[in-house]
Amino acid sequence: MSDVLVSHDIPAGAAWSVLVRAGRELRLTALGPGANCSTLLFTAGHPVDRLNVPDTLKAQMSATIRPPMVLMSDRGLALCSVTGSSLPWHDALCGHSADARRGLLSELRKHGRDVADIHGCVNFFAKVATSDDAAGTLAYQPNHASADDWVALRTEIDVLAVLSTAPHPLDPRQEAQPVRAEVWAAEPAGPDDPSRTFRVESERALLLSKEVFA
């Protein structure tokens, strides 16, 4: 790991966006307890292609985001690999709050995008489990994240990340916390990279990302 290329503290309840080249690490760090970071991801060079949470979850047989899963796009590309996290669970079932929507839209418009581009987000640092009952009842887990909890994403192609630190919509406290976003130069993934060996589906998405431009 080399030097940090970009570091930005997103204030509590604010939004920010960053274009990250392929092969970087985007590291998010909670700066307060109960932090949340509602995150949208796009292929930077494509007008439409974006994070597809259902494809990401069903291809990797998971209802949560955790290392070493890859985050997949509508076109089956690995946008990022979740290379590490101090937390074993990040919510991807609940969407963003109305406050987050306002901030995400503000950032999206700077990139020529609008409401049609909003899609299912990942709520980093939040945990909402489901019950094994007939309805699959949701249960928000309070106190999941502490200050200094982190998650690291290795970009597999150029991506646009749009981030909001508004509280998770199911958080009863609704006390927004700041989040630090850093971009680092990452080590290239080797053949034994955990995201590549995790599942054959993860590996196929990573391979598709290498075929975007011939």
């Binding site: 979850l57 069903k58 094994d132």
Partner: protein
């Protein structure tokens, strides 16, 4: 139920496996999907007929109802948190809205490159949605009526054989003027269709 007699339906059509449907449902109208042969996955999206950017949102729906499965009483919310429709009858029991649609590219990820040119729901959505201005930016994550995608308390997710059977149906009431966009899933690579995609029947009763 005499109020919803197929003989009096304003809409009565069969959608073959692998085909799609786009049509209006007026506010107050009742729309029924019948699983004619059982274990079919009916990928369905609802749009506000006046503004296709106000579209069904799986995650807003899941969060606001506090549960991941859809059944009678579930309110189907839009990205702006408007109630688009309410499920008013369900003889199946539960329906998935987390699994999304199959696509040619996601089929490659899930099943391998030999599936790249198979018929898939995302392409059907785009083909049928184009007439209403529903393009790739406006494709949200859909409902999979009759599909069974169990989620576990430990955060697991699986696809299993459907819980539906021949003749089971699900019915919604439109809470505003809607467009419904359907891809009757052609997927043959997983058990969601019982490995055998089959036709479904659509019925609609509109207010007079």
């Amino acid at each position: 139920m005499t109020a919803f007699d197929p003989a009096t339906a304003a809409l009565d059509t069969v959608v073959e496996a692998g085909e799609g449907f786009l049509g209006p449902i007026p506010a107050g109208g009742t729309f029924r999907i019948v699983d004619l042969h059982g274990n079919q996955a009916v990928d369905t999206l609802f749009y506000d007929a006046a503004d296709v950017d106000n579209r069904y949102s799986a995650f807003d729906t899941v969060r606001e109802q506090g549960a991941v499965y859809l059944t009678t009483g579930s309110r189907l919310l839009s990205t702006r948190l408007d109630v688009l429709a309410t499920i008013t009858d369900d003889t199946c029991g539960r329906h998935d809205t987390l699994g999304g649609a199959c696509a040619q590219e996601s089929n490659v990820v899930r099943y391998g490159t030999h599936t790249r040119h198979q018929n898939a729901c995302r392409e059907t959505f785009l083909r049928y949605g184009a007439a209403a201005g529903i393009d790739a930016r406006r494709l949200g994550h859909n409902i999979n009526f009759f599909m069974n995608v169990p989620v576990t308390a430990a955060g697991g997710l699986t696809f299993v054989d459907g819980v539906s059977a021949p003749g089971k149906h699900v019915q919604v009431r439109a809470e505003r003027d809607l467009l419904v966009l359907i891809s009757n899933c052609p997927q043959v690579n997983n058990p969601c269709n019982g490995w055998n995609p089959t036709p479904v029947r659509l019925l609609g009763w509109w207010p007079v």
